[in-house]
Amino acid sequence: MPHKCTKCGREYKDGSTEILKGCASCGGKKFLYVKESELNKDVLEEKSIEEIAGESNEEVLEVSEPTVKDKAKKEVEMFDRVETIRIVSPGSYELNIDKMAKTDERIVSVGGAEGSYIIDLMSMAKDEPKKKRGKRR
């Protein structure tokens, strides 16, 4: 089953990699997945693809621009990290001082690779009651 560009209605074959770059005709980034039987519905009923997209429950596929986002991600990587301390190996640490400056909460990442964390729940719960009491006074 094919995709159709919601802007200009250009048809793309199922599994086409072309749409990843956006529509070749109009540069549109949104595509609707259409059934074979309803392939010409837009022309026959004189509707735009966007209207059909609203009628059907089919999800509109949005193509993102990977190049721009990837670049931004690399720049903020250090600040973006969820952990405050990364234990690379015993006795070897990477510290996220930006995060430390903002909060006492400690999330510790273990090993060089991402995806393994230790979360110090005590560090997140500790100061809360004190602060609340202070505010009430």
Binding site: I85, P90, G91, S92, E94, D98, D104
Partner: protein, 216 residues
């Protein structure tokens, strides 16, 4: 009733007014900077000059200070008679990477080096905690024989600026031949920079004057 209320309010206002004038002004100053910049040497210098006491031991091995140390009620007086009362907090060196291998080069045993690395990591967390909770002003220390554009310095100055804390940048170790304090001045033109030798006590008078100006 209304008269009593107005009188009460006036009394309150007057006492607030008096407090503002007669309250003992004390500012808590944190000495921050990368490891081995000479933070403890300066803290000791300040404490000795004004109280005759020391703050902590110094060493050429990085991360000698792994817990923040505080010396309270130091009164610094300047040439024109102005004074400022401060608490000095000597903090562990802030860095983004700590690896025990670095300490092995100084002849330390592996077990000892690993413990030092762990304590140093906790020390950085403690230093950052102080910066957030308890510090009113910062002396940011740099080794003027090294490149000031290290990532950690840029980040720390940014953090200090974002918290609106007054900061004096100290270009330390001008007793060494390789020192180029001018490089630090051009790196941070938005802040006062004082070139000193904490070890020899050179130019510390200028630092004290700047402290009175900025932290008073």
């Amino acid at each position: 009733m209304t008269f009593a209320k107005t009188l009460g309010r006036a009394k309150k206002k007057f006492s607030l007014f008096l407090n503002r004038f007669f309250k003992k002004k004390r500012t808590r100053i944190g000495i921050y900077g990368p490891p081995n910049a000479g933070k403890t040497t300066l803290a000791n210098r300040i404490a000795r000059d004004w109280t005759g006491d020391a703050v902590g031991p110094v060493s050429e091995i990085p991360h000698e200070t792994r817990r923040a140390r505080k010396r309270e009620d130091i009164v610094i007086s300047g040439a024109n008679g102005h004074t400022v009362t401060i608490d000095i907090v000597d903090t562990p060196g802030v860095t983004t990477k700590i690896d025990y291998h670095e300490f092995l080069d100084y002849g330390m045993e592996k077990d000892e080096a690993i413990i030092r690395a762990r304590e140093a990591t906790e020390g950085v967390a403690e230093a950052m905690h102080w910066l957030r909770e308890d510090i009113d002003g910062v002396i940011y220390m740099l080794d003027s024989t090294l490149d000031p554009f290290m990532q950690v310095n840029i980040m720390m100055i940014g953090i200090i600026e974002s918290r609106n804390l007054p900061v004096i940048i100290v270009a330390n170790k001008i007793d060494l031949a390789m020192a180029t304090p001018a490089r630090i001045r051009s790196a941070f033109p938005q802040h006062p920079v004082v070139a000193i030798s904490g070890l020899e006590g050179r130019n510390t008078e200028e630092l004290y004057e700047k402290m009175i100006q900025n932290f008073g």
